[in-house]
């Protein structure tokens, strides 16, 4: 048994630093991106191109008092933002960023990430309920029904990958896709049969939609929905309470992008057989994150009924058929 306990601890410290910087600068990217898409300039005042704006925002958030309003459930109100951060931060520990760059090698890492992601729902639920506010409660209810609905197609789609690779270990899944984009699970022409390669993009699209919905991002941000629910479960939170929710959201986005990269885009493998490494991993996740931001500012928010119908009536049947076809193709070819 590996008794080296310092490696995961040092990695976790690194992840915490990453969580802060990542949230700050993804926030900046988001505002800049929104600005460009809406023909504005975005933040420009603080520093060159507003590059120091996240620093100013962070200082402001940290120096504000943590207000606990009257009539909230004082314990759960304080627990909820912490609960929003913990699962995302913990699941970073099992993500292989490159061949040997991983805090802790866990055999069932895919399952571990989904187990932790399901706790993340608890944060929105408790935060929304503890706020003692009708908007927050509606937001909590919406978020739970949405997350439960989108977890099913997501898990079913992951099973196709697990069947294809024969492993629940993220490192093995990524290692099986090395050697150019024709081996990646998104279109595995070289490593698997052509029939397999034709249905894998469907898996990818289902997984991408589900991961956007699971991280509560627009057009699926029914929990936040500032035009109807003010800000949903975050209405009553200020200062770092809100800050933790926001950091948790961005970190969840990063975990989702890491999962997509490892499961479908070959992990740290370079396209066209270029030498792989952590830089390719980072390029891929930030391209995916850019896509998520792009989608957010391009499409308007849907309605909760349409959202649930999309999952229960389209994504779940499609993912089940997809699973059946994958199993059949593995057996036949």
């Amino acid at each position: 048994m590996d008794t080296n306990i310092w490696r995961p601890i040092l990695y976790l410290i690194g992840f915490m630093a990453f969580a802060g910087i990542n949230a700050a600068y993804l926030g900046w990217c988001e505002r800049k991106g929104a600005g460009r898409i809406q023909r504005r300039t975005g933040p420009m005042e603080v520093g060159f191109q507003g590059l120091l704006q996240p620093l100013a925002d962070g200082l402001k958030l940290m120096s504000k008092q943590l207000l606990v309003p009257d009539g909230v459930d004082s314990i759960l109100f304080r627990v909820a933002p912490i609960l929003a951060m913990i699962p995302a931060l913990t699941s970073m520990a099992v993500i292989p960023f490159a061949g040997n760059v991983q805090a802790r090698a866990v055999e069932l890492s895919v399952l571990l990430i989904f187990a932790l992601a399901s706790i993340g729902m608890m944060a929105v639920l408790l935060g929304g309920w503890a706020s003692g506010n009708k908007y927050s409660l509606i937001s909590a209810a919406r978020s739970v029904s949405q997350n439960l609905a989108y977890e099913i197609p997501m898990l079913v789609t992951v099973i196709t990958i697990v069947m294809l690779t024969g492993s629940m270990n993220l490192e093995e899944i990524a290692a099986a896709q090395q050697g150019g984009f024709w081996n990646w699970n998104i279109f595995p022409v070289a490593s698997h049969s052509l029939a397999q390669a034709i249905i894998m993009p469907v898996s990818f699209i289902i997984f991408f939609i589900c991961s956007v919905a699971e991280t509560n991002r627009a057009p699926f941000d029914m929990a936040e929905a500032e035009s109807e629910l003010i800000a949903g479960h975050m209405t009553e939170y200020g200062s770092m309470g809100f800050g933790l929710f926001m950091m948790g959201e961005y970190l969840n986005m990063v975990v989702g992008a890491c999962l997509i990269t490892i499961l479908f885009l070959g992990g740290w493998d370079g396209p066209l057989g270029l030498s792989g490494g952590i830089w390719w991993f980072l390029v891929k996740i930030y391209l995916l994150l850019f896509t998520v931001i792009w989608v957010r500012w391009t499409y308007p928010r849907t309605q909760i009924y349409k959202l649930l119908n999309l999952s229960w009536k389209i994504l779940i049947p499609f993912s089940l058929v997809n699973l059946l076809l994958t199993a059949a193709f593995i057996k036949v070819f």
Binding site: T3, N4, I5, W6, R7, D73, I75, L76, V79, V106, E107, L108, L111, L112, F114, A115, L116, A117, S118, I119, M121, M122, L125, L126, W129, A130, L137, A140, A141, V144, S145, L148, E151, M168
Partner: protein, 183 residues
Amino acid sequence: MQSAICQSAAGMSFFSAQGFVGLIFLVTIGLIIAGAFVATTSTRLVRCISGLAVCFTGVAGAYYFLLAPFVAMMQMLIYVGAVSILIAFAIMMATPEEGDTPGKKITRFSGPLGFAVSAMAFAALSLLAATTDWQVFAREGSGDMHHIGMVLLTSHSMVFELVSIVLLVAIMGALVIARRGRD
């Protein structure tokens, strides 16, 4: 370098890897007990559910210490991630006003009687635990996914079939309840 740190730390029992694992084990047990305590004593239903979720998390940790990581993660995914959340969801949708729950009659015998009953149950269980000749089974297979899958589809396929029947009944029940009053 890192192994050197571990080597020097091995002398001190608490800061060694074993000590750290022991600490985590105690935290796990603490989570189970604290969660169960909150779940049974709290007056607010949502706090009870949170306690239950904490308790389930502790149980997942216990499974991990029993060298069954697959069961531990399924415990997290199903009990913490689905069962607790569904219960919380149901409570939020249908919760009565906070405060005193009606229909409870507390007489002066309630306390002593409850105490006697729980003391009896405790005594019986402890007696059973202390006098039973516990047999330690040899570990069978590796407990990983491949092994569980093989066993479920060969020697223990009855369990698999029964689970599928239970799920079918649950789906039918949900459909019947959901369709009621629509036509």
